[in-house]
């Protein structure tokens, strides 16, 4: 996926969910309120892989601390959408 001005929040959320599954998170646990640090039990290497995948797919540079501080999937998706739009 290439980031573009037309990219929608739902696209970002679908991408985030897909990449989380790719790094080992179960599809069933991916609801809006799910917290990345607690509910998804992401291991350290999986977290690095997720970060790299998001950066490559969206053409962005994200702040991993911001991601864990936001914690909830819906908030992370919103943050990523902002980055993808260059905000």
């Amino acid at each position: 996926m290439n980031a573009s001005p037309q990219i929608e929040p739902d696209d970002i959320r679908r991408l985030l969910d897909r990449l989380l599954v790719e790094v080992g998170v179960s599809q069933e646990s991916l609801h809006d309120g799910a917290r990345i640090t607690e509910d998804l039990a992401l291991e350290s290497v999986a977290f690095v892989e997720l970060q790299v995948a998001l950066e490559e797919e969206l053409g962005i540079e994200l702040d991993p601390i911001k991601v864990v501080e936001l914690d909830e999937l819906s908030a992370i998706a919103e943050y990523l959408h902002g980055l993808a739009l260059g905000r």
């Binding site: 640090t37 039990a41 992401l42 350290s44 995948a53 540079e61 991993p64 601390i65």
Partner: protein, 380 residues
């Protein structure tokens, strides 16, 4: 923009002078005793060298990262890897964590006196039962007790631990394993239950005190939690990148210094009626080492420039941590060979550099772990 501007040059002179006047005369004492006097930290603090990039309101100088690079490049000139490490531990191990995530009260109580050199700090994550795999290794536990954490466990290989006034300590604050549920706590070393179990004897870095620390039900106010509770692992691993980058800068400068001294020695030594530097095998060997250092430096500087501009290039920093370190160790080992028998003498500081450099592929994350991290960045 280049890493260095004109104003970095007089600063380099300033640091070099401070090292020559304040550290070099102490070499024999520090290498023998293994303890850096507090006066060294206070003196460097008074000269403004312990808070180069830290906020001015806490006594820092608010300068750009290029100044830290200059400091890290000049410190090896004291020809004590241990002292360089201990000073960089004060400037770059825990200080950025406090600066970024600490509260105003924490910065006033711990960061500001550390910048002045009045308090010595340490950063503790490694434990006797596990090291580089931080997320799996941390067993040091903090139990929730109202307004306090009650900390029990041990930490080891802690630079400046035996002389520290406080230790920023990575502890587990949730019962589940993995990276989630760790916190960074500021623990003053006069807290009842804290002890230095052992000052560790090492192959090298003799002038830097390294500690095995124990925490026996230490009651730590929750107000001493750095950043948000349970996110300590992420703060720590992000901060480690700066530590690894500046370690790469410093170690490369060490190798360059060893090579310079080796060349000086070879120019003054004769074999077969001419200086050793006239022999083709030696000329080629020096050319190879010089090229390796130059190429590594160009790579390190490029990552430093991006770091200064706010881009933390984790993949390339991990590359530096194993690849540049490999160059450094190889160059120093080859220089020892070029020194001949003189390279085996204790009085030749290059032997000390050889011992000191051995830790570079171990401390701050082993080379093997760095390669794994790079592989993760390559999505292998």
């Amino acid at each position: 923009m280049s890493l260095f501007r004109d104003e970095h040059r007089p600063f380099r002179d300033e640091v070099r002078q401070a090292i020559r006047e304040r550290l070099t005369p102490l070499t024999e004492d520090l290498e023998r005793s293994g303890v850096i006097p507090r006066s060294v930290f206070r003196d460097l603090g008074q000269r403004g060298l312990l808070g180069l990039t830290q906020p001015i309101e806490y006594g820092g100088r608010g300068l750009d990262f290029g100044y830290t690079v200059v400091l890290a490049e000049e410190l090896p000139r004291c020809r004590m890897g241990g002292v360089a490490l201990s000073i960089l531990a004060q400037t770059n191990f825990f200080s950025p964590l406090l600066s970024r995530y600490g509260t105003v009260a924490q910065k006033s109580e711990f960061l500001a006196p550390a910048i002045r050199g009045e308090k010595i700090g340490a950063l503790a994550s490694t434990e006797p039962t596990g090291g580089s795999d931080i997320s799996g290794a941390v067993q040091c536990r903090a139990e929730d007790d109202g307004d306090f954490w009650v900390v029990s466990g041990e930490k080891t290989y802690i630079t400046n631990g035996p002389i520290a006034d406080f230790v920023v300590t990575l502890v587990r604050t949730r019962s589940d394993g993995g990276p989630n549920g760790m916190s960074l706590l500021l623990i003053p070393t006069d807290t009842p239950g804290f002890s230095v179990k052992q000052t560790l004897r090492k192959l090298g870095l003799h002038s830097s005190p390294t500690g095995w620390l124990a925490f026996d039900r230490c009651r730590v106010p929750k107000s001493y939690t750095v950043g948000k509770a349970h996110l300590g692992y992420y703060y720590h691993t992000q901060n480690l990148l700066e530590e690894r980058l500046i370690g790469g800068v410093c170690s490369l400068a060490l190798a360059a210094l060893v090579l310079d001294d080796t060349i000086t020695y070879l120019k003054g030594r004769q074999a077969y009626g001419k200086p050793l530097t006239a022999l083709q095998t030696i000329r080629h060997r020096i050319a190879e080492m010089s090229a390796e250092i130059e190429m590594a430096r160009a790579f390190v500087y490029s990552v430093c420039e991006r770091f200064r501009d706010g881009h933390v290039d984790a993949k390339r920093i991990c590359m530096i941590k194993f690849q540049v370190v490999d160059v450094v160790q190889r160059v120093i080992e080859r220089c020892i060979q070029l020194f001949g028998g003189n390279g085996f003498l204790e009085e030749n500081w290059v032997t000390r550099a050889y011992r000191d450099a051995r830790v570079l592929s171990l401390g701050g994350g082993t080379s093997e772990v760095m390669k794994d991290l790079v592989a993760s960045h390559l999505r292998l």
